[in-house]
Point group: C2
Chain length 131, copies 2
DNA sequence: AGATGTCAACGAAGCCCTTCGTAGATGCGG
DNA sequence: CCGCATCTACGAAGGGCTTCGTTGACATCT
């Protein structure tokens, strides 16, 4: 039985999820500190707390309450969330064509050659496996 | 210079923009009919009207009022909007790496071989210009 | 002209997201 | 034990998005 589908995270929620994916399970304080580090004058502590409480209600994160400072854990992996966001965007703005999104992504910004090579390998796999 | 950055369109606004890009400049009635066709029981006429009025204020569309039924025109091309959406997503969820987004896009859905070939040509161009 | 239909323009309501102030519980150092 | 720091919880405010009812202007058909 897989998971009921999680809602699309908002921008603020995604910022928090990024911290959780990078640091691993964390308390509100730890998340808040991390966010403050990358953006001073960002958001206050209680704002982050409230956000994370709502994310718990939505099922985006889980909470271990056995300690006084609750520990939060993302319920979806980074990959899975990325996949969801991408398919969303493909459907909403690219007429359902992932390749068109991919091309737009590559044209717009400079990409490191190593990543291009990796992408090429993926392409080989995809083209090889058809028929 | 006149290109002030346009705000990121919401889901509803994007749906309207898609119609305008596909049909060309249109009246509210034409947009509403198109939306209703692809999603019956979607939104009412006045809802679409209001949305498009707000989009005008935001600068997402322009309006020709010389006819009784105003004619709306997107202020950014589909390409440019796609580019903006992609870079946004790359920054918010892919640590700034367009290639990782591209790979996620291709892994998640089946893509037509013809599009893969096109993508490969783009890759050739990008890698070619590096030496 | 009068009836009917179409249009833009508000404005209000409902919901969600974000922000923060405040209160109450809990742990900790003296 | 008392005071201080830290934490969760709660609620309210503000703004943005979406929805729709209503109104008044304008056109069309008879």
């Amino acid at each position: 039985m897989s998971e009921t589908k999680l809602p699309r995270p908002t921008d603020g929620e995604l910022a928090i999820l990024r911290v959780l994916w990078a640091r691993g399970d964390s308390t509100v304080r730890e998340v808040h500190d991390a966010l403050t580090r990358e953006e001073p004058e960002g958001t206050g502590y209680t704002t982050v707390l409230k956000l994370m409480q709502i994310m718990t209600e939505k099922g985006l994160v889980e909470r271990d309450e056995s300690q006084r400072a609750h520990v939060y854990r993302p319920r979806a992996t980074e990959q899975r969330t990325q996949r969801q966001l991408v398919t969303d965007l493909v459907d909403r703005a690219f007429g359902g064509s992932p390749a068109r999104l991919a091309m737009q992504a590559l044209s717009s910004k400079k990409t490191r050659p190593e990543e291009l090579a990796e992408l090429r390998r993926l392409l080989d796999t995809l083209e090889g496996g058809e028929e």
